[in-house]
Protein backbone atom coordinates (compact mmCIF):
# COMPACT_ATOMS: atom_id res chain seq x y z
CA UNK A 1 0.00 0.00 0.00
CA UNK A 2 1.43 3.39 -0.94
CA UNK A 3 1.31 6.42 1.31
CA UNK A 4 -1.27 8.02 -0.95
CA UNK A 5 -3.54 4.96 -0.87
CA UNK A 6 -3.35 4.89 2.91
CA UNK A 7 -5.24 8.18 3.10
CA UNK A 8 -7.87 7.20 0.54
CA UNK A 9 -11.05 5.96 2.25
CA UNK A 10 -13.24 3.00 1.47
CA UNK A 11 -16.41 4.34 -0.14
CA UNK A 12 -19.68 2.48 0.41
CA UNK A 13 -22.69 3.51 -1.69
CA UNK A 14 -26.00 1.91 -0.71
CA UNK A 15 -28.59 3.17 -3.16
CA UNK A 16 -32.25 2.70 -4.03
CA UNK A 17 -35.78 4.01 -3.50
CA UNK A 18 -37.19 3.25 -0.06
CA UNK A 19 -40.72 3.86 -1.38
CA UNK A 20 -40.42 0.92 -3.79
CA UNK A 21 -40.26 -2.05 -1.43
CA UNK A 22 -37.04 -4.05 -1.68
CA UNK A 23 -35.43 -1.36 -3.84
CA UNK A 24 -34.57 0.28 -0.51
CA UNK A 25 -32.26 -2.62 0.38
CA UNK A 26 -29.05 -0.77 -0.46
CA UNK A 27 -29.91 2.17 1.76
CA UNK A 28 -31.04 -0.14 4.55
CA UNK A 29 -27.76 -2.07 4.61
CA UNK A 30 -25.77 1.17 4.36
CA UNK A 31 -27.65 2.62 7.33
CA UNK A 32 -26.84 -0.50 9.40
CA UNK A 33 -23.20 -0.20 8.40
CA UNK A 34 -23.16 3.50 9.37
CA UNK A 35 -24.25 2.51 12.88
CA UNK A 36 -21.75 -0.32 13.13
CA UNK A 37 -18.67 1.08 11.41
CA UNK A 38 -17.52 4.20 13.24
CA UNK A 39 -14.36 4.61 11.19
CA UNK A 40 -13.23 7.86 9.52
CA UNK A 41 -11.51 5.65 6.96
CA UNK A 42 -14.93 4.44 5.72
CA UNK A 43 -17.25 6.88 3.95
CA UNK A 44 -20.88 5.76 3.57
CA UNK A 45 -23.33 7.39 1.13
CA UNK A 46 -27.03 6.63 0.68
CA UNK A 47 -28.29 8.29 -2.52
CA UNK A 48 -31.52 7.34 -4.23
CA UNK A 49 -29.64 6.61 -7.44
CA UNK A 50 -26.17 6.77 -8.91
CA UNK A 51 -25.25 10.07 -10.55
CA UNK A 52 -22.14 11.23 -12.46
CA UNK A 53 -21.07 13.64 -9.69
CA UNK A 54 -20.28 10.62 -7.49
CA UNK A 55 -17.29 10.01 -9.76
CA UNK A 56 -15.16 12.49 -7.79
CA UNK A 57 -15.66 10.54 -4.57
CA UNK A 58 -15.20 7.20 -6.31
CA UNK A 59 -11.91 8.42 -7.78
CA UNK A 60 -10.76 9.58 -4.35
CA UNK A 61 -11.41 6.17 -2.75
CA UNK A 62 -9.10 3.16 -2.59
CA UNK A 63 -12.10 0.84 -2.89
CA UNK A 64 -15.77 1.46 -3.68
CA UNK A 65 -18.53 -0.95 -2.69
CA UNK A 66 -22.05 -0.62 -4.13
CA UNK A 67 -25.10 -2.18 -2.46
CA UNK A 68 -28.32 -2.68 -4.40
CA UNK A 69 -31.31 -4.99 -4.90
CA UNK A 70 -31.78 -6.97 -8.11
CA UNK A 71 -34.45 -8.92 -9.94
CA UNK A 72 -34.22 -12.71 -9.43
CA UNK A 73 -36.12 -15.88 -8.77
CA UNK A 74 -34.55 -16.64 -5.38
CA UNK A 75 -35.47 -13.81 -2.98
CA UNK A 76 -32.68 -13.04 -0.57
CA UNK A 77 -29.90 -14.71 -2.57
CA UNK A 78 -26.79 -12.53 -2.40
CA UNK A 79 -24.47 -11.90 -5.35
CA UNK A 80 -20.99 -10.43 -5.28
CA UNK A 81 -19.68 -8.97 -8.53
CA UNK A 82 -16.40 -7.23 -9.23
CA UNK A 83 -16.99 -4.11 -11.32
CA UNK A 84 -14.80 -3.38 -14.31
CA UNK A 85 -14.87 -0.07 -16.16
CA UNK A 86 -15.93 -0.49 -19.80
CA UNK A 87 -13.46 0.48 -22.50
CA UNK A 88 -15.47 3.63 -23.16
CA UNK A 89 -18.15 5.24 -21.01
CA UNK A 90 -21.47 3.90 -22.27
CA UNK A 91 -23.12 6.60 -24.39
CA UNK A 92 -26.67 6.29 -23.12
CA UNK A 93 -28.50 9.32 -21.78
CA UNK A 94 -30.86 8.35 -19.00
CA UNK A 95 -31.80 9.51 -15.53
CA UNK A 96 -29.84 6.75 -13.81
CA UNK A 97 -26.51 5.07 -14.36
CA UNK A 98 -25.09 1.68 -13.39
CA UNK A 99 -21.93 0.99 -11.34
CA UNK A 100 -20.17 0.01 -14.58
CA UNK A 101 -21.04 3.32 -16.22
CA UNK A 102 -19.98 5.20 -13.10
CA UNK A 103 -16.67 3.34 -13.27
CA UNK A 104 -16.31 4.42 -16.90
CA UNK A 105 -17.20 8.02 -16.04
CA UNK A 106 -14.66 7.97 -13.20
CA UNK A 107 -11.90 6.79 -15.50
CA UNK A 108 -12.85 9.26 -18.25
CA UNK A 109 -12.93 12.23 -15.87
CA UNK A 110 -10.18 11.42 -13.39
CA UNK A 111 -8.03 8.81 -15.13
CA UNK A 112 -8.27 6.30 -12.28
CA UNK A 113 -10.63 3.52 -11.24
CA UNK A 114 -10.36 2.02 -7.75
CA UNK A 115 -11.16 -1.56 -6.86
CA UNK A 116 -14.96 -1.79 -7.13
CA UNK A 117 -17.47 -4.33 -5.84
CA UNK A 118 -21.22 -4.68 -6.21
CA UNK A 119 -23.23 -6.61 -3.63
CA UNK A 120 -26.83 -7.30 -4.52
CA UNK A 121 -29.69 -9.35 -3.10
CA UNK A 122 -32.50 -10.79 -5.19
CA UNK A 123 -35.72 -8.93 -4.37
CA UNK A 124 -39.26 -10.10 -3.70
CA UNK A 125 -41.07 -6.93 -4.77
CA UNK A 126 -40.44 -3.46 -6.20
CA UNK A 127 -44.07 -2.38 -5.79
CA UNK A 128 -44.98 0.98 -4.19
CA UNK A 129 -44.61 0.32 -0.45
CA UNK A 130 -42.27 1.09 2.42
CA UNK A 131 -40.19 -1.55 4.15
CA UNK A 132 -38.33 -4.64 3.00
CA UNK A 133 -39.63 -8.16 2.48
CA UNK A 134 -38.55 -10.75 5.13
CA UNK A 135 -36.14 -12.36 2.66
CA UNK A 136 -34.25 -9.11 2.15
CA UNK A 137 -34.19 -8.37 5.87
CA UNK A 138 -32.62 -11.77 6.41
CA UNK A 139 -29.94 -11.28 3.75
CA UNK A 140 -28.70 -7.96 5.20
CA UNK A 141 -26.43 -9.71 7.67
CA UNK A 142 -24.77 -11.75 4.92
CA UNK A 143 -24.08 -8.61 2.88
CA UNK A 144 -22.70 -6.74 5.89
CA UNK A 145 -20.39 -9.67 6.64
CA UNK A 146 -19.02 -9.69 3.10
CA UNK A 147 -18.48 -5.92 3.18
CA UNK A 148 -16.64 -6.05 6.50
CA UNK A 149 -14.40 -8.76 5.04
CA UNK A 150 -13.65 -6.57 2.00
CA UNK A 151 -12.85 -3.60 4.24
CA UNK A 152 -10.61 -5.75 6.41
CA UNK A 153 -8.68 -7.03 3.40
CA UNK A 154 -8.16 -3.52 2.03
CA UNK A 155 -6.75 -2.11 5.28
Amino acid sequence: MTEQEFYMPVLIIGYGNTLRGDDGFGKYVASLLAERVQDPDVLILMPQQLTPDLAAQVAASRMTIFIDARVGENPGRVHHTTIQAPDRATPTFQHHITPEVLAGVTRALYGVVPEMHLLTAEATTFEVREGLSPALHDSAGDVIGQILTLISKSS
Binding site: A56, P91, T92, F93, V105, A108, G111
Partner: protein, 471 residues
Protein backbone atom coordinates in the same frame (compact mmCIF):
# COMPACT_ATOMS: atom_id res chain seq x y z
CA UNK B 1 -45.78 16.94 -53.56
CA UNK B 2 -45.40 18.28 -50.01
CA UNK B 3 -43.57 16.29 -47.36
CA UNK B 4 -43.26 16.32 -43.61
CA UNK B 5 -40.16 15.59 -41.48
CA UNK B 6 -40.74 14.48 -37.89
CA UNK B 7 -38.01 14.62 -35.22
CA UNK B 8 -39.43 12.56 -32.36
CA UNK B 9 -38.37 12.87 -29.60
CA UNK B 10 -36.10 15.88 -29.36
CA UNK B 11 -33.01 14.76 -27.42
CA UNK B 12 -30.85 16.31 -24.70
CA UNK B 13 -33.68 18.35 -23.20
CA UNK B 14 -35.73 17.78 -20.04
CA UNK B 15 -38.99 16.11 -21.07
CA UNK B 16 -40.60 14.74 -24.18
CA UNK B 17 -41.35 16.55 -27.41
CA UNK B 18 -41.11 16.34 -31.18
CA UNK B 19 -40.51 18.68 -34.09
CA UNK B 20 -42.32 18.55 -37.40
CA UNK B 21 -41.04 20.29 -40.50
CA UNK B 22 -43.42 20.77 -43.42
CA UNK B 23 -41.82 21.04 -46.85
CA UNK B 24 -43.42 22.68 -49.88
CA UNK B 25 -43.56 21.42 -53.46
CA UNK B 26 -39.99 22.53 -54.12
CA UNK B 27 -38.54 20.95 -50.98
CA UNK B 28 -38.18 24.21 -49.07
CA UNK B 29 -39.42 24.57 -45.50
CA UNK B 30 -42.98 25.88 -45.43
CA UNK B 31 -43.58 25.54 -41.70
CA UNK B 32 -42.04 24.01 -38.58
CA UNK B 33 -43.52 23.29 -35.18
CA UNK B 34 -42.29 22.27 -31.74
CA UNK B 35 -44.84 19.89 -30.21
CA UNK B 36 -44.92 19.01 -26.52
CA UNK B 37 -46.43 15.57 -26.27
CA UNK B 38 -46.58 15.27 -22.48
CA UNK B 39 -49.72 15.90 -20.46
CA UNK B 40 -49.94 18.21 -17.42
CA UNK B 41 -51.93 17.00 -14.45
CA UNK B 42 -50.78 19.01 -11.46
CA UNK B 43 -53.34 21.78 -11.83
CA UNK B 44 -56.11 19.20 -11.52
CA UNK B 45 -55.07 16.70 -8.91
CA UNK B 46 -54.16 19.37 -6.34
CA UNK B 47 -57.85 20.34 -6.17
CA UNK B 48 -59.35 19.36 -2.82
CA UNK B 49 -56.01 19.24 -1.02
CA UNK B 50 -55.16 21.70 1.82
CA UNK B 51 -53.30 24.72 0.45
CA UNK B 52 -50.38 24.28 2.86
CA UNK B 53 -49.49 20.98 1.17
CA UNK B 54 -48.82 22.75 -2.12
CA UNK B 55 -45.08 23.51 -1.83
CA UNK B 56 -44.35 19.84 -1.19
CA UNK B 57 -46.77 18.63 -3.83
CA UNK B 58 -45.95 21.18 -6.54
CA UNK B 59 -42.21 20.76 -5.99
CA UNK B 60 -42.59 17.24 -7.35
CA UNK B 61 -43.41 18.62 -10.78
CA UNK B 62 -39.74 18.54 -11.61
CA UNK B 63 -36.49 17.15 -10.23
CA UNK B 64 -34.47 20.04 -11.67
CA UNK B 65 -36.59 23.10 -10.86
CA UNK B 66 -37.97 21.79 -7.53
CA UNK B 67 -36.72 24.77 -5.56
CA UNK B 68 -38.18 27.40 -7.88
CA UNK B 69 -41.56 25.67 -7.90
CA UNK B 70 -41.57 25.38 -4.13
CA UNK B 71 -40.73 29.08 -3.79
CA UNK B 72 -43.49 30.21 -6.14
CA UNK B 73 -45.89 27.82 -4.45
CA UNK B 74 -45.01 28.95 -0.93
CA UNK B 75 -45.48 32.60 -1.92
CA UNK B 76 -48.93 31.86 -3.36
CA UNK B 77 -49.84 30.15 -0.08
CA UNK B 78 -48.44 33.04 1.95
CA UNK B 79 -50.60 35.41 -0.09
CA UNK B 80 -53.60 33.29 0.87
CA UNK B 81 -52.54 33.60 4.53
CA UNK B 82 -51.88 37.33 4.02
CA UNK B 83 -48.38 36.77 5.40
CA UNK B 84 -45.24 38.18 3.86
CA UNK B 85 -42.00 36.36 4.56
CA UNK B 86 -39.29 38.89 5.27
CA UNK B 87 -35.78 39.02 6.66
CA UNK B 88 -33.65 35.95 7.17
CA UNK B 89 -36.08 33.40 5.72
CA UNK B 90 -36.23 35.41 2.51
CA UNK B 91 -32.43 35.50 2.30
CA UNK B 92 -32.19 31.76 2.95
CA UNK B 93 -34.72 31.13 0.18
CA UNK B 94 -32.67 33.26 -2.19
CA UNK B 95 -29.50 31.28 -1.45
CA UNK B 96 -31.15 27.99 -2.24
CA UNK B 97 -32.72 29.40 -5.42
CA UNK B 98 -29.31 30.66 -6.58
CA UNK B 99 -27.90 27.19 -5.87
CA UNK B 100 -30.74 25.67 -7.87
CA UNK B 101 -29.96 28.00 -10.74
CA UNK B 102 -26.29 27.04 -10.55
CA UNK B 103 -26.89 23.29 -10.74
CA UNK B 104 -29.52 23.61 -13.47
CA UNK B 105 -27.42 25.93 -15.63
CA UNK B 106 -24.43 23.58 -15.23
CA UNK B 107 -26.59 20.70 -16.38
CA UNK B 108 -27.94 22.64 -19.37
CA UNK B 109 -24.64 24.12 -20.46
CA UNK B 110 -22.17 21.29 -19.90
CA UNK B 111 -24.23 18.10 -20.09
CA UNK B 112 -26.84 19.01 -22.69
CA UNK B 113 -25.55 21.81 -24.92
CA UNK B 114 -21.74 21.78 -24.85
CA UNK B 115 -21.35 18.55 -26.89
CA UNK B 116 -22.66 20.60 -29.83
CA UNK B 117 -19.96 23.27 -29.36
CA UNK B 118 -17.06 21.02 -28.46
CA UNK B 119 -17.68 17.98 -30.65
CA UNK B 120 -19.37 19.83 -33.50
CA UNK B 121 -22.91 20.10 -34.83
CA UNK B 122 -22.04 17.56 -37.54
CA UNK B 123 -20.24 15.05 -35.30
CA UNK B 124 -21.32 11.43 -34.81
CA UNK B 125 -24.52 11.50 -32.70
CA UNK B 126 -23.33 8.36 -30.88
CA UNK B 127 -20.51 10.42 -29.41
CA UNK B 128 -22.23 13.83 -29.32
CA UNK B 129 -23.24 13.64 -25.67
CA UNK B 130 -21.75 14.12 -22.20
CA UNK B 131 -20.00 10.74 -22.37
CA UNK B 132 -18.39 11.61 -25.68
CA UNK B 133 -17.36 14.90 -24.13
CA UNK B 134 -15.70 13.03 -21.27
CA UNK B 135 -13.58 11.16 -23.78
CA UNK B 136 -12.63 14.17 -25.89
CA UNK B 137 -12.56 17.03 -23.35
CA UNK B 138 -12.31 15.50 -19.87
CA UNK B 139 -11.26 18.80 -18.25
CA UNK B 140 -14.40 20.58 -19.40
CA UNK B 141 -16.61 17.59 -18.59
CA UNK B 142 -15.03 17.43 -15.13
CA UNK B 143 -15.78 21.14 -14.61
CA UNK B 144 -19.40 20.56 -15.62
CA UNK B 145 -19.89 17.62 -13.30
CA UNK B 146 -18.20 19.50 -10.47
CA UNK B 147 -20.13 22.76 -10.92
CA UNK B 148 -23.44 20.92 -10.91
CA UNK B 149 -22.33 18.97 -7.82
CA UNK B 150 -21.49 22.23 -6.01
CA UNK B 151 -24.97 23.61 -6.71
CA UNK B 152 -26.54 20.37 -5.55
CA UNK B 153 -24.33 20.24 -2.46
CA UNK B 154 -25.38 23.75 -1.41
CA UNK B 155 -29.02 22.71 -1.73
CA UNK B 156 -28.28 19.58 0.31
CA UNK B 157 -26.47 21.57 3.00
CA UNK B 158 -29.26 24.15 3.24
CA UNK B 159 -32.31 21.97 2.81
CA UNK B 160 -31.25 18.53 4.00
CA UNK B 161 -31.71 16.87 0.61
CA UNK B 162 -30.32 17.62 -2.83
CA UNK B 163 -33.51 16.67 -4.67
CA UNK B 164 -37.07 17.28 -3.47
CA UNK B 165 -36.23 18.67 -0.03
CA UNK B 166 -39.12 19.58 2.28
CA UNK B 167 -37.31 22.53 3.81
CA UNK B 168 -39.22 25.32 2.02
CA UNK B 169 -42.50 25.53 3.91
CA UNK B 170 -45.47 27.86 3.90
CA UNK B 171 -44.45 30.83 6.05
CA UNK B 172 -40.70 30.53 5.62
CA UNK B 173 -38.22 27.69 5.90
CA UNK B 174 -38.16 24.67 8.20
CA UNK B 175 -34.84 25.39 9.94
CA UNK B 176 -32.28 28.21 10.20
CA UNK B 177 -28.75 28.12 8.84
CA UNK B 178 -26.02 26.92 11.20
CA UNK B 179 -22.53 28.35 11.39
CA UNK B 180 -21.16 25.03 10.11
CA UNK B 181 -23.38 25.15 7.01
CA UNK B 182 -22.34 28.74 6.36
CA UNK B 183 -18.68 27.72 6.51
CA UNK B 184 -19.24 24.63 4.34
CA UNK B 185 -20.97 26.69 1.65
CA UNK B 186 -18.25 29.35 1.80
CA UNK B 187 -15.61 26.70 1.11
CA UNK B 188 -17.40 25.56 -2.05
CA UNK B 189 -17.73 28.98 -3.69
CA UNK B 190 -14.13 29.76 -4.77
CA UNK B 191 -13.93 26.56 -6.80
CA UNK B 192 -17.29 27.29 -8.43
CA UNK B 193 -16.11 30.78 -9.34
CA UNK B 194 -12.90 29.43 -10.88
CA UNK B 195 -14.83 26.93 -13.00
CA UNK B 196 -17.28 29.56 -14.23
CA UNK B 197 -14.60 32.10 -15.14
CA UNK B 198 -12.54 29.43 -16.92
CA UNK B 199 -15.64 28.33 -18.84
CA UNK B 200 -16.61 31.90 -19.74
CA UNK B 201 -13.14 32.38 -21.19
CA UNK B 202 -13.22 29.47 -23.61
CA UNK B 203 -16.89 29.84 -24.46
CA UNK B 204 -16.52 33.48 -25.50
CA UNK B 205 -13.62 32.43 -27.75
CA UNK B 206 -15.75 29.56 -29.11
CA UNK B 207 -18.59 31.92 -29.99
CA UNK B 208 -16.49 33.31 -32.82
CA UNK B 209 -16.79 29.91 -34.51
CA UNK B 210 -20.58 29.99 -34.30
CA UNK B 211 -21.40 33.33 -35.91
CA UNK B 212 -23.80 31.73 -38.35
CA UNK B 213 -25.66 29.88 -35.59
CA UNK B 214 -25.80 33.09 -33.53
CA UNK B 215 -27.45 34.83 -36.47
CA UNK B 216 -29.96 32.06 -37.22
CA UNK B 217 -30.80 30.26 -33.95
CA UNK B 218 -33.92 32.06 -32.82
CA UNK B 219 -32.53 35.47 -33.74
CA UNK B 220 -35.53 37.79 -34.02
CA UNK B 221 -37.04 40.81 -32.26
CA UNK B 222 -39.31 39.93 -29.35
CA UNK B 223 -40.30 41.21 -25.96
CA UNK B 224 -38.59 39.91 -22.80
CA UNK B 225 -40.11 39.21 -19.37
CA UNK B 226 -38.35 38.93 -16.02
CA UNK B 227 -38.58 39.78 -12.36
CA UNK B 228 -36.77 42.91 -11.20
CA UNK B 229 -36.03 43.98 -7.67
CA UNK B 230 -38.75 46.08 -6.08
CA UNK B 231 -36.32 48.73 -4.82
CA UNK B 232 -33.32 48.69 -7.19
CA UNK B 233 -32.82 48.21 -10.94
CA UNK B 234 -31.13 44.84 -10.43
CA UNK B 235 -31.76 41.20 -11.16
CA UNK B 236 -34.25 39.49 -8.87
CA UNK B 237 -34.91 35.76 -8.65
CA UNK B 238 -37.51 35.71 -5.88
CA UNK B 239 -40.54 37.98 -5.51
CA UNK B 240 -40.02 41.45 -7.00
CA UNK B 241 -41.98 43.08 -9.83
CA UNK B 242 -42.62 41.67 -13.27
CA UNK B 243 -41.28 43.75 -16.14
CA UNK B 244 -41.80 43.36 -19.89
CA UNK B 245 -39.37 45.16 -22.23
CA UNK B 246 -39.31 45.43 -26.01
CA UNK B 247 -36.46 44.40 -28.31
CA UNK B 248 -34.72 47.73 -27.59
CA UNK B 249 -34.95 47.13 -23.83
CA UNK B 250 -37.60 49.81 -23.35
CA UNK B 251 -40.05 49.01 -20.54
CA UNK B 252 -43.54 48.42 -21.95
CA UNK B 253 -45.15 46.98 -18.81
CA UNK B 254 -44.23 46.89 -15.13
CA UNK B 255 -46.68 45.04 -12.93
CA UNK B 256 -47.30 43.20 -9.66
CA UNK B 257 -47.69 39.41 -9.80
CA UNK B 258 -51.35 39.73 -8.77
CA UNK B 259 -51.94 41.53 -12.09
CA UNK B 260 -50.36 38.88 -14.30
CA UNK B 261 -53.66 37.99 -15.98
CA UNK B 262 -54.03 41.59 -17.18
CA UNK B 263 -50.78 41.28 -19.11
CA UNK B 264 -50.30 37.58 -19.90
CA UNK B 265 -52.81 35.60 -21.92
CA UNK B 266 -52.60 31.83 -22.46
CA UNK B 267 -53.55 30.50 -25.89
CA UNK B 268 -54.01 26.83 -26.73
CA UNK B 269 -53.18 25.01 -29.97
CA UNK B 270 -54.54 21.57 -30.85
CA UNK B 271 -51.09 20.18 -31.75
CA UNK B 272 -49.31 20.69 -28.42
CA UNK B 273 -50.00 20.14 -24.71
CA UNK B 274 -47.91 23.22 -23.93
CA UNK B 275 -49.91 26.44 -23.75
CA UNK B 276 -48.84 29.55 -25.67
CA UNK B 277 -48.59 32.54 -23.32
CA UNK B 278 -48.55 35.96 -24.98
CA UNK B 279 -48.37 39.61 -23.97
CA UNK B 280 -52.06 40.42 -23.79
CA UNK B 281 -51.97 44.07 -24.94
CA UNK B 282 -50.50 42.91 -28.28
CA UNK B 283 -52.73 39.86 -28.74
CA UNK B 284 -51.96 36.35 -30.00
CA UNK B 285 -49.58 35.47 -31.58
CA UNK B 286 -48.15 39.00 -31.98
CA UNK B 287 -47.46 39.24 -28.27
CA UNK B 288 -44.50 36.89 -28.45
CA UNK B 289 -41.94 37.22 -25.65
CA UNK B 290 -39.06 35.31 -24.13
CA UNK B 291 -38.09 34.49 -20.54
CA UNK B 292 -35.01 32.93 -18.92
CA UNK B 293 -31.35 33.95 -18.79
CA UNK B 294 -31.33 35.91 -22.08
CA UNK B 295 -34.52 37.73 -21.12
CA UNK B 296 -33.31 38.50 -17.61
CA UNK B 297 -30.11 40.09 -18.88
CA UNK B 298 -32.10 42.11 -21.42
CA UNK B 299 -34.61 43.33 -18.82
CA UNK B 300 -32.27 44.36 -16.01
CA UNK B 301 -29.86 47.27 -15.74
CA UNK B 302 -27.46 45.43 -13.43
CA UNK B 303 -26.99 41.90 -12.09
CA UNK B 304 -26.25 43.42 -8.70
CA UNK B 305 -22.77 41.90 -8.38
CA UNK B 306 -19.45 43.29 -9.71
CA UNK B 307 -17.94 40.41 -11.68
CA UNK B 308 -21.21 39.47 -13.32
CA UNK B 309 -21.75 43.14 -14.19
CA UNK B 310 -18.40 43.20 -16.00
CA UNK B 311 -19.56 40.25 -18.08
CA UNK B 312 -22.94 41.91 -18.60
CA UNK B 313 -21.23 44.98 -20.06
CA UNK B 314 -19.44 42.74 -22.59
CA UNK B 315 -22.66 40.81 -23.23
CA UNK B 316 -24.35 44.07 -24.26
CA UNK B 317 -21.94 44.33 -27.19
CA UNK B 318 -23.15 41.01 -28.58
CA UNK B 319 -26.44 40.22 -30.29
CA UNK B 320 -29.00 40.36 -27.45
CA UNK B 321 -31.81 39.00 -29.64
CA UNK B 322 -30.19 35.70 -30.61
CA UNK B 323 -31.40 32.71 -28.64
CA UNK B 324 -27.96 31.18 -29.11
CA UNK B 325 -26.77 33.70 -26.55
CA UNK B 326 -28.91 32.02 -23.90
CA UNK B 327 -25.83 29.86 -23.36
CA UNK B 328 -23.59 32.84 -22.57
CA UNK B 329 -26.30 34.42 -20.42
CA UNK B 330 -26.47 31.17 -18.43
CA UNK B 331 -22.77 31.37 -17.56
CA UNK B 332 -23.05 35.03 -16.53
CA UNK B 333 -25.94 34.12 -14.26
CA UNK B 334 -23.83 31.36 -12.70
CA UNK B 335 -21.19 33.95 -11.84
CA UNK B 336 -23.86 36.21 -10.38
CA UNK B 337 -25.26 33.29 -8.37
CA UNK B 338 -21.88 32.54 -6.76
CA UNK B 339 -21.28 36.22 -5.95
CA UNK B 340 -24.80 36.57 -4.57
CA UNK B 341 -24.53 33.48 -2.37
CA UNK B 342 -21.24 34.80 -0.98
CA UNK B 343 -22.85 38.15 -0.22
CA UNK B 344 -25.82 36.50 1.49
CA UNK B 345 -23.81 34.14 3.70
CA UNK B 346 -21.63 37.10 4.73
CA UNK B 347 -24.74 38.90 6.00
CA UNK B 348 -24.63 38.87 9.85
CA UNK B 349 -28.39 38.33 9.91
CA UNK B 350 -28.18 35.05 8.01
CA UNK B 351 -27.90 32.90 11.17
CA UNK B 352 -31.02 34.44 12.74
CA UNK B 353 -33.26 31.63 13.99
CA UNK B 354 -36.63 33.36 13.35
CA UNK B 355 -37.35 31.88 9.95
CA UNK B 356 -41.04 31.02 9.87
CA UNK B 357 -44.39 32.78 10.22
CA UNK B 358 -47.61 30.97 11.11
CA UNK B 359 -51.16 31.77 10.02
CA UNK B 360 -54.22 30.20 8.43
CA UNK B 361 -56.05 31.03 5.21
CA UNK B 362 -57.32 34.61 5.29
CA UNK B 363 -58.15 35.29 1.63
CA UNK B 364 -59.36 33.06 -1.17
CA UNK B 365 -56.64 33.55 -3.75
CA UNK B 366 -52.89 33.98 -3.94
CA UNK B 367 -50.19 34.40 -6.57
CA UNK B 368 -46.50 33.54 -6.17
CA UNK B 369 -43.64 34.16 -8.55
CA UNK B 370 -39.97 33.23 -8.78
CA UNK B 371 -37.29 33.20 -11.44
CA UNK B 372 -36.62 29.54 -12.18
CA UNK B 373 -33.45 28.65 -14.12
CA UNK B 374 -35.47 28.70 -17.33
CA UNK B 375 -37.44 31.85 -16.59
CA UNK B 376 -40.34 33.46 -14.81
CA UNK B 377 -42.54 30.99 -12.92
CA UNK B 378 -46.05 31.86 -11.72
CA UNK B 379 -48.25 29.84 -9.34
CA UNK B 380 -51.82 31.04 -8.79
CA UNK B 381 -54.06 29.20 -6.28
CA UNK B 382 -57.71 29.52 -5.26
CA UNK B 383 -59.05 28.03 -2.01
CA UNK B 384 -62.42 27.66 -0.29
CA UNK B 385 -63.34 28.87 3.22
CA UNK B 386 -61.62 25.81 4.71
CA UNK B 387 -58.35 26.39 2.89
CA UNK B 388 -58.89 23.52 0.46
CA UNK B 389 -57.69 24.05 -3.08
CA UNK B 390 -60.43 24.82 -5.61
CA UNK B 391 -58.16 25.65 -8.53
CA UNK B 392 -54.60 26.25 -9.65
CA UNK B 393 -53.00 27.89 -12.65
CA UNK B 394 -49.30 27.45 -13.29
CA UNK B 395 -47.51 29.47 -15.94
CA UNK B 396 -44.27 27.53 -16.09
CA UNK B 397 -41.04 29.08 -17.33
CA UNK B 398 -40.71 26.98 -20.47
CA UNK B 399 -44.32 27.71 -21.39
CA UNK B 400 -43.61 31.44 -21.76
CA UNK B 401 -41.03 30.58 -24.42
CA UNK B 402 -43.35 28.40 -26.49
CA UNK B 403 -44.08 30.96 -29.23
CA UNK B 404 -40.41 31.91 -29.38
CA UNK B 405 -39.24 28.29 -29.55
CA UNK B 406 -41.58 27.66 -32.44
CA UNK B 407 -40.33 30.74 -34.26
CA UNK B 408 -36.74 29.66 -33.58
CA UNK B 409 -37.36 26.19 -34.97
CA UNK B 410 -38.90 27.64 -38.12
CA UNK B 411 -36.05 30.11 -38.62
CA UNK B 412 -33.39 27.44 -38.15
CA UNK B 413 -35.18 24.89 -40.34
CA UNK B 414 -35.52 27.46 -43.15
CA UNK B 415 -31.81 28.16 -42.97
CA UNK B 416 -30.53 24.59 -42.80
CA UNK B 417 -33.15 22.12 -44.12
CA UNK B 418 -32.86 21.42 -47.80
CA UNK B 419 -35.78 19.13 -48.46
CA UNK B 420 -34.91 16.08 -50.41
CA UNK B 421 -32.59 14.13 -48.15
CA UNK B 422 -32.32 14.09 -44.37
CA UNK B 423 -28.97 15.18 -43.06
CA UNK B 424 -27.76 14.55 -39.52
CA UNK B 425 -26.12 17.94 -39.03
CA UNK B 426 -29.20 19.72 -40.31
CA UNK B 427 -31.50 17.85 -37.94
CA UNK B 428 -29.18 18.41 -35.01
CA UNK B 429 -29.18 22.16 -35.62
CA UNK B 430 -32.97 22.20 -35.49
CA UNK B 431 -32.79 20.39 -32.16
CA UNK B 432 -29.96 22.62 -30.95
CA UNK B 433 -32.07 25.76 -31.20
CA UNK B 434 -34.50 24.14 -28.76
CA UNK B 435 -31.60 23.24 -26.46
CA UNK B 436 -30.59 26.92 -26.42
CA UNK B 437 -33.85 27.64 -24.60
CA UNK B 438 -33.14 24.70 -22.22
CA UNK B 439 -36.82 23.75 -22.03
CA UNK B 440 -37.98 21.70 -19.05
CA UNK B 441 -41.07 19.90 -20.24
CA UNK B 442 -41.10 17.74 -17.14
CA UNK B 443 -42.55 20.80 -15.42
CA UNK B 444 -45.71 20.04 -17.38
CA UNK B 445 -45.95 16.47 -16.23
CA UNK B 446 -43.90 13.31 -16.03
CA UNK B 447 -43.57 10.85 -18.89
CA UNK B 448 -41.63 7.61 -18.79
CA UNK B 449 -39.74 7.25 -21.99
CA UNK B 450 -36.52 5.73 -23.14
CA UNK B 451 -34.96 8.65 -24.95
CA UNK B 452 -34.10 7.88 -28.52
CA UNK B 453 -34.43 9.79 -31.73
CA UNK B 454 -36.68 8.92 -34.64
CA UNK B 455 -36.73 10.97 -37.85
CA UNK B 456 -39.36 10.30 -40.48
CA UNK B 457 -40.09 11.95 -43.78
CA UNK B 458 -43.74 11.27 -44.61
CA UNK B 459 -45.47 11.98 -47.91
CA UNK B 460 -48.92 13.61 -48.06
CA UNK B 461 -50.49 10.17 -48.44
CA UNK B 462 -48.83 8.95 -45.23
CA UNK B 463 -46.12 6.97 -47.02
CA UNK B 464 -42.80 7.00 -45.13
CA UNK B 465 -40.25 8.30 -47.63
CA UNK B 466 -37.22 8.34 -45.34
CA UNK B 467 -36.64 6.96 -41.86
CA UNK B 468 -33.70 7.40 -39.53
CA UNK B 469 -33.56 6.03 -35.97
CA UNK B 470 -31.05 6.97 -33.30
CA UNK B 471 -30.61 5.39 -29.88
Amino acid sequence: MTERIVIDPVTRIEGHSKITIQLDETGNVADARFHVTQYRGFERFCVGRPFYEMPGLMGRICGICTISHMLASAQACEAIMSVRVMGTAQKLRKIVNYASLLQSHALAFFHLASPDFLLGMESDPKQRNIFGLMQENPEIARDGVRLRAIGQNIIGLMAGKKVHPDWIVVGGVASPMTEQVRQDIGELLPEAQEIIQRTLGWFKRTLDDYREEVSTFGNFPSKFLSLVNEHEEVLEIYRGRLRMVDDHRNTIADFHRDEYRDFIGEAVEPWSYLKFPYFKPEGYPGGIYRVGPLARLNVIESTGTPMADQELAEFRSRNPLSSFNYHLARLIECLNAVESIQRLIDDPDILNTRVRAHATANVESGVGVSEAPRGTLIHHYDVDENGLMTGANLVVSTTHNNLAMNRGVLQTARRYVDGARLNEGMLNRVEAVIRAFDPCLSCSTHAYNQLSLHFQMVGPDGEVLDDVKRG
